[in-house]
Amino acid sequence: MVIEQETLPLIEGILHYGLQMLLALGILGVLSLIIAYLVATALYGPIAGGRELKNFLSEICRDWFYTSPRRVLALAWLAMKESINRRVLVVAVIFLILLLFAGWYLDNRGDIAAKMYLSFVFTSMSVLVIVLSVVLSAFSLPSDLNSRTILLIVAKPVRRHEIVLGRVLGFLATGTILLAVMGGISYFFVSRGLDHTHVLRESEIALEDYDPTAENPIVKRGRTAMKHGHRHEVLFYKNGDIYVEDTPGHSHRAEVRTNQQGEEIVQLGEPLSILRARVPRYGTLLFRDRNGELQDKGINVGTEWKYKTCIEGGTRSAGIWTFEDLYEEEFPNGVPLELTLGVYRSYKGDIDSGILGSLRLRNPTDGRTSNPILFRAKEYYTDRLFIPRTVDSPEGPLDLFKHFVVDGKVEMEVRCEERAQYFCMARYDVYARAGDAPFSLNFVKGLTGIWLQMLLILSVGVAASTVLRGSVAMALTIGIALSGHLLDSLKTLAQGENYGGGPLEALIRILTNRNLMVELPNGFYLGPTKMFDAAMRGLLNAVTYIVPDFRLYNMADYVAQGFNINASQLASNIVCGVTYSLIVIIIGHLCLKLRQVA
């Protein structure tokens, strides 16, 4: 599997994700101002109304200017105390129990084990933290208003935004502690769950026929017993080196020991890089069709992979990746590539052996091309291909960085070599693996994603609860969180790309028992129905711009799939998330300012 989401540099990321949202909120702000002015005019007349509005806005600004950190912290402390008093730490216990049971059911076999474990812990943590945030934030202010404890707060020189801000920060602090505890438990659980060793006995090792003239031939070979659903092939070299193949995505360090019975065994130690954070270096993708013409997209073989398009085997058709930043210093021994190509077979062939493909390097300036490097691609597998420093070419062996890479730029052409078979690909399916980042750091980055979601939900919940009752505020917060997670489906609905029309048309279809594909018969109601649905779609479209894009903050996939979370991506997410929260807190401030608390 690969990560399909584009990661953008910091500023670009902020501009891309933040600007759209800011623009939408800006429009909303201007609209609110106009409405506020109209209301003020209705109450006080046009001039006095304008003055009142101006005074109100300058009061809001003054409030923020005179923010007292001590007051905010005091209110945050109170919120923390309150949440602890409401026994939120029970959540950590629930999580622990969940993990205890999960240990029985989680698949710890081979390659998918790490992914399963990580997905599970991240999903559980997200769900628990989100549910907790919704409940904490939506009911806190309303319960204070109900019990009137708020009276003693607002009778002090507390600005209303400090109440909102303090509450968000207090709950955030509790949530952070909880998340840290759960994160710690998860890390322990995952590393313990995946930890295993293998033993290779003398009887499992076979002698190999080898060429005595070879420099360092393999002299013995063995296969470990099945453990955690996988085996390792172990190769013994003449010079005494032992190589453990990392077939299920990880390897082990091997050591020859004598056991208690005096038997010599090969002991494989703890798994190496089973938890990893690959740093991918992506290129851009162009296609060549069967006539050799450059195209943006390949062939569409159906909607199995909407984002992937295909190249036809045995023709000139190819996918060409252009990498811009492969430097000798970073890859002194050669470039390790990882390919996750979709394989579309028009006939089944030998299902076990995979489809033969080739990769050619090309110098982008002089067009010099290497000999094909062959590989076999299997469905749903990530194939690893190592491009060595010395590459064969029609001119003889050439150095990778001297002859093919120019200023970090090189082209790689992938072809399918079997006739009537297809490789399907998208930009992020092929990348150079520029080493690994520390996994623990990546784990923390993944937790940061959950933390940002928590921040957003807390802000939305507290802001909503300044004007709404607890249960209504909760429903609204859940609605926003869900919309944020399902933004793609919402956009499809808002842009009318779905079948069956808008809500009214759908209702008519249900009532008249017509399926989605049938045209509605002409009738007097058709016009108004379409208009109503268009209005609803417009409204929904506006909503899609306003709700925070929670998919951005769901970075658990990166951790689970073993990809490093880009620092700039993380930073832009943090900037966007915090800005959004701040805007929501300001909205909460306005609402609470206008509200009579007694």
């Binding site: 409030d63 005179y66 007292s68 001590r70 007051r71 912290l73 005091a74 209110l75 402390w77 109170l78 105390k81 309150e82 008093n85 019990s147 009137r148 404890t149 708020i150 009276l151 003693l152 707060i153 607002v154 009778a155 002090k156 020189p157 507390v158 600005r159 209303r160 009579q596 608390v597 007694a598």
Partner: protein
């Protein structure tokens, strides 16, 4: 309150000077045409909680707001604190609009019920409210200790408030109202829930605060308490101001003259009567008997019920009223 001799903490700044006489003193609270109407969803007036209240409270006085339940006392306090917004009119507190949070720096407020966080203990409570006044940690600690001592909760200061009795809750409520050494103290039913000793202590404390130059506005329907300590009172009924003035002058019964004479023999009495007839002789004391505040209160409530509508209130000239014993017309016109 257990430790009556203890100085109320940090009140020394204003305490040395004798409080100014109310009439010349600075106006601390001023309301003009203050009106509060609660409306229903459709904007129709549901309750007229307060109607055109004009009040002035001056520095250093104890001002009582009296009225039966639902007369608008608490509404007035809430309007003064900016907890609710007036429908019409304006309230200025310490020279600032009531909705300005900055005015709260110098205000202490004890609500009718102690709306405190029950999961905090006394020390945490006072520390928390001290932080809301932006007080540094050292000052907070010192003041919290002094106030806990003042209200006599020394032995229970680490117990969560949910374990407190009503009287104890009231005391800690008062302590939080004083945490910032306020200039103006608003007390809503300060003696409710207190036993007679507690009530006495509370009243003493209020008088002591007044002696230190604090302005105190309290509302209550415990009339005897109000009579003891208030300098001036306002009586509200169904949201309208029905009476306003100095307690001593309001309670004067102006059509009766009372003589207090020591060791009076029958002959002397006859003689005095003769003297009185001739407007001669030596009187030991002539003054007007006082009704209780309760009498006045009941009379006004009864009158107001009988004659609904606005009762014109002219305040007594504050200085001369009690000394001259001159009557002041407060009847309906």
């Amino acid at each position: 309150m257990a430790n009556e001799t203890a100085d109320p903490p940090e009140m020394t700044a204003a305490s040395s000077s004798e409080p100014e006489r109310p009439a010349q003193a600075e106006v601390v609270i001023e309301t003009r045409n203050l009106t509060k109407i609660y409306r229903d969803f459709w904007g129709r007036a549901k309750v007229r909680a307060l109607k055109s209240l004009d009040l002035e409270v001056r520095q250093g006085e104890i001002f009582g707001l009296l009225g039966p339940n639902g007369s608008g006392k608490t509404t007035t306090i809430k309007l003064l604190l900016g907890l609710i917004f007036p429908t019409h009119g304006q309230a200025l507190v310490l020279g600032k609009p009531a909705t300005d949070e900055a005015k709260n720096e110098k205000i202490g407020y004890l609500p009718e019920e102690s709306y405190l966080y029950r999961f905090l203990n006394a020390v945490e409570t006072l520390d928390f409210y001290g932080r809301l006044f932006n007080m540094p940690a050292k000052v907070r600690k010192q003041r919290a200790a002094e106030l806990i001592n003042l209200v006599g909760l020394e032995g229970a200061k680490r117990r969560p408030l949910k374990e407190y009795s009503k009287g104890m809750t009231r005391r800690i409520g008062l302590a939080q109202a004083l945490i910032n050494d306020p200039q103006l103290i608003l007390l809503d039913e300060p003696t409710s829930g207190l036993d007679p000793i507690g009530t006495r202590e509370m009243k003493d404390l209020i008088l002591e605060l007044k002696a230190r130059g604090k302005t105190i506005v309290l509302c209550s329907h415990l009339l005897a308490d109000m009579q003891d300590i208030c300098d001036r009172i306002a009586i509200l009924h169904r949201g309208e101001l029905k009476e306003l003035g100095r307690v001593d002058s309001l309670l004067q019964v102006t059509d009766i003259t009372q003589l207090q004479i020591k060791d009076l023999s029958d002959e002397a009495q006859e003689e005095i009567e003769a003297v009185l007839r001739k407007h001669h002789g030596e009187l030991v004391g002539v003054n007007h008997p006082k009704a209780t505040l309760e009498d006045l209160f009941l009379r006004i409530v009864r009158e107001s019920d009988d004659h609904l509508g606005r009762r014109v209130v002219r305040e007594l000239p504050t200085e001369t009223a009690s000394e001259n014993g001159s009557p002041e017309k407060t009847d309906e016109s």
